[in-house]
Symmetry: C2
Subunit: 442 residues, 2 copies
């Protein structure tokens, strides 16, 4: 940690603290010429004073000094560096950034950044992000990895992922991409066995051809969800002064994404919603069964299913007869399957057990209004148990406040995506089917 | 409370409990032929046994008995009744519902329901909803009123409103609308001094002409936001078996809404997002200033502003010069105004104080990434203070977990709508401008 600081308000303090807290198994060194130790870790004047081998340097010193520090890393034969420091291309300091790239090349250092938030590697217990944990939750172990050009956007998504118990694998804020760019990172995550799903926030790419090639290869192997920012004239101008990225023509970019088989997110919420849909098995067809205890929510789901080009599955005669026998007379056995407002967990369980056996059904949307008096939290386990014993796609929907959120978090911790509205669930489901079809064709 | 029960699992228990808890100033009576008292309230065999005058009866007894009970209410000269009981039109019992309407007419009882969730009147401390408070938060005092055909959908929205501190005035779940329908309720809320904004979830209307007339009159006076469910073929079939509503042709309905000057919500989230935008002054024009501490979020906001037909406001030379003087050199004074990742509350305060004085700005989107180390919670008060001293539209945006939510709730409690993504904020802003323009034209 180069730029380790004793001042809690400094980035170099927060990073070291998070590195210690996250429990990395390797050895940590602090570099601060003015301190003997920082946060209980012995501090060195320069990286060259350290005797042991260093695998990776995290650099959080002013841009003017950062390049010199990187050179020292090179002399120390450090193979990787993360440069948090801003003050490069994004404020017009192209020369400084070019110098940085040259040093990286000369010494063979793989550099992430500059002007970035750092990385999180949940599997390896590395957390180099300088945001306090009370302000931003860290994710538990999972299979989704993130690439983000904007540290801010990335961190908010990571916070949501942390809050919702979905879990993550790697988080890489790559900032100005002076050396390692989005294409290199795609390639890396494609081969990474700890990553099943890749989520990317991109303002602009420097080498479109390289990006397309890596994206296409990657999307064949695992889903890649991309949010392109800087779509219009104003926005692309803003992107330039942010990470120095040239946003390019959005329509070209969008069709390139489609061609490559990536999944495009429309906005920030869509990115978050899509990142979790792929935790479930891909739907093999478009026939959706909706189970609900709120008639209105069933209607809204049916609306969305038509809007997003999916189909309401037909319930077989057999299932109808079986459910008629065990359900109260006033329940109508059709799709949406409205279990009515007095449904208990057992009724959900029975409906789900029938639903996962139905041949006509590719995906199941389970809407649970947890607010009703008759529904206890056991229903969560009915949903989890059904999802665990089928290869149909199961998604959960519930709208509401704290109590509802708490139960949705349990569901999500088992890899079942939970959505706050029927429309969100259906829209994500529809995009995962498109991904499945594209991959089946290619 | 007719059908008051000593059994905590029964609807008639939950309602009485909530009526007591909510602190209604009037007198409560319980009707239960088998108990001497329920929840500490003396119980009567029949409403006819009560000596005092009754203003409103809440009926939660089986449908077979409910009509007879309503007749007794008529004999007791009760002027209003809320019939919670289901088992009418929605399951094909048209005769029973006709009978109910006839009794209502004969005795002059205004009836809400049947097959509904009841009402909440925050100003009058009446809560007749049978959902437990630990599962569903109740809203604090506010100016938004809700009409909902589906009790379930309505209750989830009420839960969100409660959670977010936005506040509400009246909540009316009207179910099958056997007597009082959506048009009557619109008329009532139009004249209600405790209601500034009307939010409606509607599956179908029985009298289109009447609805159009009332809607048009109402929308001229206050914003009416409508979510129409049952848009497609499948969905309208589902709506019929839910509240017995004929959903009708969606396109006709949608253009009718537009013609009448109502604001149409696309889905449940949109309904929630739109309900709060009108707490702010209506934007008088389309020029939006974006203030942010996250460059990426600024880019996303700019994207959305172009997508939804708004404009990025030009920052005047004067404002530029003044901010240049006081802001760090590396901040670029343009729109989006990126205060950069190290922005503190003071920097936000200065930007906001300049922004509310700018003549070129109609609306301000304040994006705050609360996760950054340098931004403390004081920024919340900067936003509130700016909003309180301007008639420009101010909306807040922040994405994140619990810490972020907590701060957004404070902002919302001051009538400043907070959104979880730039796109949501811009989309809502754009619809409020459309409403303003339509009202200015008519």
């Amino acid at each position: 940690m180069i730029g380790a600081s004793r001042d809690p308000a400094k980035v170099g303090h927060a990073i070291l603290k998070n590195l210690i807290r996250s429990g990395y198994a390797g050895k940590l060194y602090a570099i601060n010429p003015h301190a003997k130790s920082v946060l209980g870790i012995k501090s060195y004047k320069s990286i060259l004073d350290i005797r042991g081998k260093i695998d990776c340097a995290i650099i959080a010193v002013p841009a003017k000094v950062a390049n010199a520090v990187l050179k020292q890393c090179g002399k120390k034969k450090v193979k990787g560096a993360i440069i948090i420091s801003g003050g490069y291309k994004e404020i017009g300091q192209y020369k400084l950034e070019k110098e940085l790239a040259d040093i990286s090349k000369k010494y063979g250092i793989a550099v992430i950044g500059p002007n970035c938030l750092g990385i999180v590697n949940v599997h390896k217990h590395i957390d180099s992000i300088f945001l306090p944990t009370y302000k931003m939750k860290r994710p538990q172990l999972g299979r989704i990895s993130f690439l983000t050009q904007s540290g801010a956007v990335g961190s908010t998504i990571l916070d949501l992922i942390g809050e919702s118990n979905i879990g993550a694998s790697k988080f890489i804020s790559y900032g100005n991409a002076a050396v390692i760019d989005e294409s290199d990172l795609l390639k890396y995550l494609r081969e990474d066995n700890e990553t099943d799903i890749i989520v990317a926030y991109i303002e602009g790419v420097s080498d479109g051809r390289k990006f397309y090639d890596e994206l296409k290869k990657t999307a064949k192997k695992k889903p890649v969800i991309v949010l392109k920012a800087g779509k219009g004239e104003f926005a692309s101008h803003a992107a330039k002064s942010h990470t120095g990225a040239l946003a390019g023509d959005y329509r070209v970019f969008s069709s390139m994404l489609k061609q490559a088989g990536a999944v495009e997110a429309e906005n920030l919420e869509d990115l978050f919603n899509l990142s979790k849909i792929f935790l479930q098995p891909l739907p093999k067809g478009d026939r959706v069964l909706v189970i609900t205890n709120g008639g209105g929510d069933g209607v809204l789901a049916a609306d969305a299913i038509e809007k997003y080009g999916l189909k309401m599955a037909d319930i077989s005669r057999g299932m109808k007869l079986r459910l008629k026998k065990i359900f109260p007379k006033y329940t109508v056995i059709s799709n949406p399957l409205d279990l009515t407002g007095d449904a208990d967990s057992e009724r959900y369980g029975k409906a789900l057990q029938e639903a996962i056996k139905e041949k006509n059904v590719d995906a199941i949307i389970v809407i649970t209004l947890f607010q009703t008096a008759g529904l206890n939290s056991d229903v969560v386990h009915e949903v989890i148990s059904a999802a665990n014993s089928t290869d149909k796609t199961i998604v959960s929907v519930a709208t509401g406040g704290r109590y509802t959120q708490m139960l949705l978090n349990i569901i999500e911790s088992y890899g079942i995506p939970a959505y706050e509205s029927p429309a969100d669930a259906v829209s994500s489901l529809s995009k995962s089917l498109q991904y499945y079809k594209k991959r089946a064709r290619d």
